[in-house]
Every structure is written in C-alpha cells, then in structure tokens.
Assembly symmetry: C2
Homo-oligomer: 320 residues x 2
C-alpha cells in the first residue's frame, strides 16, 4: 500500500463533513471558507515516538492525543475548533497501526465536529504533527498577557495524574494495577477542554493550557502579564487516586508535571462573582488555587502558609 492508497483508504474516510470545507483532502491544498467576520486561530503541536510516546503505545491513544493537544491549545485561546491538517511520518505503511490511529483520531474529531482537510504522509521515524484551526470573533481571544494583580487563578479538572502515570511507566513510582489504570487514561487520552475554553471568552483575562506543568505554564502567564502569583499548594486540584499516593509522591507531580492539558486561567475580581454562578455549566470541576499579585514570580505556600519550594519546575525540550 503506497502513500496515495493509505490516504484514500484511511485518512480520506473521516465521517465528519463540514459545509465550510470548500476543497478537502485530495488536491494540492485545502480551501476553507471561514464564517464572515471571524478571525482564524491556528496552532500546531507534534508527538514524536520515543519522546512523547513509547514505541509500543496504542495507536488509538496516539491518534486521540495528537489531536487533543492541539484542540487544547485552541481551547486556551477560547476558540471554536473547525479544521485540522495531519502530517504523519511512518517507518512503513503498517495498515493495522494506521487503522487504530485513525480510530482514535476521528473519534475525537467527531466529538468536536472538526474535519481533517489535508495533510502529508512520509516515510521516516514515527511522528505526528497536527495543525488545528478554529474561529474567534475580533477581540475575543483569551491571551496570556491579560492577568492583573488581584485576579483569581483557576485550574480546570485535576492535575498530576499524567505525571503519576509517567512515573509508573518509568519505574520511578510503582502503582497498583487499578490505580495505574485510573491515571494512565489522563496521560494517554487527555481531555481537551474545548467547551470550557469557549466559555472562558466571557470571563477570563488570561488563559493557558497545562502541557509543560502548572508552574511552568502559569509562569508563562506571569511573564506575559508582567505580574506575579501566589498559589496555595494544597488547593491544587488532584484526583482521589493521586491523593492516595500523596504521602509518597508529594505535590511536585501535580505542580510541575506536564501533559494534563487542563486549563489555567485568571478572572478579575469584577467578574469573579458572575463566573462563580457559571461554574456549574463547566463539564468539569473548576478550582481557585490562588491569586495574581504585583510582585514578580510565582510563590507557593503550603496549607500552613509556609513557603513551599518544589524540586522541579516543568518540562523543557533541550534542557539539561
């Protein structure tokens, strides 16, 4: 099966078909008709074998995650997702693998009504780059630079489970089977907070998705906004599974571990009351973990109000 047959059989077979796709897969490029007056939001993120996933990882999970991490970036801007392109490199045309990959990919695409409109297939070390497009109205994008002292800092869902699963996989902290089963889903099939991200347009002054770790990503908001933050370690939302192991693993995987793809965002005091009334419309819990302050940097305090210094701050490619 050559690249053209592979594209025809698997990639061109997605069920979702959108009216705004004028020309989809099969020409030199796709032609897309954005809604009148909307701006286009675009992002790209990749998964590399041996870096972002293990060689024996389930192809369905990789398909899911490759799209989820991109939808997560769109969500962090408040955008409504619409289209995506897929750049895939494979060592061989392994039909079984590609079928599984497409299952995971298209199941998530269908959930959010996003259509694959083009891409590229090459031979090479296994790697997937996706580029996702969404819409936003002028001035509605939720940026990183809109946080100000006094704003409340929120996190969706729970953080730390992905890091906990990774520690198990790396043999650094063995989990009982049931616990590993509970947290591995968060690492392998993260939830992109698409719906929540779109609601943030109404409330959030700033937002980011947590891919490199809460501290590192909140750090980007602080840097872009020119302000600091004070967060309470024990308010950081963790799962029941995580809490069972907290005596051994502590708070650092929740504070510094990446790949949770939750949203971290700030809400001004002015909007905070209205926001709290809207929280029930979110599909997940939303937790206030602290507030923005005028001094620079991120300060973390424990439940007793003592300064807490984590051992690590977040993942950076190429860092020693």
């Amino acid at each position: 099966m050559n690249e053209f047959e592979l594209i025809q059989k698997f990639f061109a077979a997605q069920p979702v078909v959108r009216d705004d796709v004028v020309i989809g897969i099969g020409d030199d490029a796709a032609v897309l008709a954005p809604p009148a007056g909307k701006q286009i939001v675009v992002t790209t993120d990749s998964l590399i074998e041996g870096v972002h996933f293990l060689p024996d990882a389930d192809a369905r999970d990789i398909g899911h995650k490759a799209l989820a991490v991109n939808l997560s970036d769109l969500a962090a801007m408040g955008a409504e997702p619409a289209w995506f392109l897929l750049n895939i490199t494979l060592p061989s045309s392994d039909e079984v693998w590609v079928r599984g990959f497409c299952e995971g990919l298209f199941a998530l695409a269908e959930k959010h009504k996003v259509q694959l409109v083009g891409g590229n297939t090459s031979r090479g070390p296994r790697a997937i780059a996706i580029e996702a497009h969404g819409f936003i109205s002028e001035g509605e994008a939720v940026r990183r630079n809109g946080a100000a002292p006094g704003d409340s800092i929120y996190v969706t869902g729970e953080v730390g489970d992905a890091a906990l699963a990774l520690r198990h996989l790396l043999g650094e902290h063995r989990l009982p089977d049931a616990d590993f089963a509970a947290v591995r889903q968060r690492l392998e099939r993260p939830t992109a907070r698409v719906h929540e991200g779109m609601m943030l347009r109404r409330f959030a002054g700033s937002a980011i998705d947590i891919s490199d770790g809460l501290m590192a990503d909140l750090g980007h908001i602080l840097e872009a906004s020119g302000a600091g933050a004070l967060i309470v370690r024990d308010r950081v939302p963790v799962s029941d599974t995580y809490r069972k192991h907290i005596a051994d693993i502590g708070w650092d995987p929740a504070l510094g571990g990446g790949e949770d793809y939750e949203l971290c965002f700030t809400v001004s005091a002015q909007r905070d009351a209205e926001f709290s009334r809207w929280q029930s419309k979110f599909g997940c819990r939303v937790t206030c973990i602290g507030e923005m302050v005028s001094g620079p940097g991120l300060q973390i305090v424990d439940a007793a109000g003592e300064i807490y210094r984590p051992a690590t701050t977040g993942y950076r490619h190429f860092s020693r």
Copy 2:
C-alpha cells in the same frame, strides 16, 4: 539553550510583519484576520532527514526548501501566500544549525512577504513540517479536476535537473563539478512558482506542482479530471545542462524525477490565444508539452511520433 530561548532568539526574529497577524508567535495559538470575503488555502508538507535531505545538507538550503515546497502547493492552487507555521524536531539545540536554517527560511519568506505566526519545537530525529496559508477568492482555486480533452498542457521552467542532481549524489551518474553546481541548486533550493501560480487563476483549468515527477503529477490531473493526455517527450523543457547529458541519462529523469516544483497546468482552447499573449508576464519559460485527450491514461510519444515507455513513473512513499 532550551526550546523557549531557541524560539525567542531565532524563530521570533523574522523581519516580515503583516497587518493581518493579530497575535503571532508567543501565545497558545496565533490569531489571524483574513481579508473580508476571501477563502483560506492551507497545505502542509515536511522534510525528514535521511528521506528528503542528507544529514550533512546545508541548513540554509533546508530552511529554504521546507518553505518552498509549501509555497509551491499554494501556487498550484493559485493562492496568494500569507502566513506559515513551523513544526521542527531537532536532536539537540544546535544554534549554528538553527541560525542557518532560519536564514534560508526567512530569506524566502521575506521574498514572498509571508510571516511565521507560530509553531512548535521538539526534541527528536531532525524533521521539519511547515503549514502554509494563503488567500483566494470564491471559485478562483485552480483544482486538479478541471482539465478536459482538447486543453493544452503546459509546464513552467525546466524539469529533470533535481533528479539529475540526485543521481549524482547517489553515485548513479557522475557529473562534472560545474554541471553539478548548476543542477544542485534546483534540488536544494527549488523555486516556488508563486507569481506564476497566481496568474494561473486567469487561465488554467487545472494545475498541480511537480513534486513526485511530471508523469505522476500529471497523472493526478488525469485521474481527477477523468481524461487522458498525450505528451511529446522531446517537448518536455529541460535545461542546457540536462541536455548535455541526455545521451547518457535519456528523458526519464525529466519525465519521472520529482522535486522540481515546477507547475504543470492545462489551458482550454478557448483561452489559449489570450494565454499565449500573457506568457511574457511569467517569470520563467512556459512550454506546451501536449494536450488532453478523451482516452484514459497518459501516452508519451517521441519526436518521431512513436510511443515512448519510460522505465519509472514517479516517487511514492512506502512503495516497493
């Protein structure tokens, strides 16, 4: 130097700044404002080390080519290029390599006034995926499926030099130094026919860029259009350097060799007269190599009108 420093120092330093980029590099996603009433044309293509370029290839050439192959796809649709995203995977943060890569990339970007608006940097085997965006008015896109019997078939520039250079590099056909110097530019720094592509909106019924080889890519037009073609082998435009070696290498590298990134397109009899008056406005030679016919498939005849059968038909990933 970690990924954030690398992005800041090199990738965020592009000189081109467009008014329609609302949010560029540095947030979770870019926000772009397409011109009112225009459609968006998007494409993605990648270069993988060991597949599309050799490990010791010049980083500047790779930067140039990574963008050129995408601009070529936009040109084949008739689109005006505007923005691009860069997904780059590197084994280490080699500053010298990245500096050279950005020089080649941004020199071409500046030539066509396209702006890098976002991307992603990961550790892994060296690979570059670019996603380019352009504009087109409704109904203007030049597709693959618009060719009809009786249309003339044209090729821009010259084909075969990239294949000739590759044969030299693979040791299959040794070239004198001066000849290799002449053809290697076509392989390593291909010209994207951006200006020509935009002019095709006025004339061409169908178009494609020649990345996999003239026969294979014209074959895509035939398949999409449900028609056949008759081309005259000796009319296929080749360079003076190529012609010097034609006794040894024959016509097959020009017919079947990929990576020239010229445009192949069709013009109806109705528009052919007007088109010939406009050819002087093209930045390169434009050659009629044959015509569309009603029978299926591609037929090639030599100068004497005899059927010519090439040994190979074009590059396909994963083909045996």
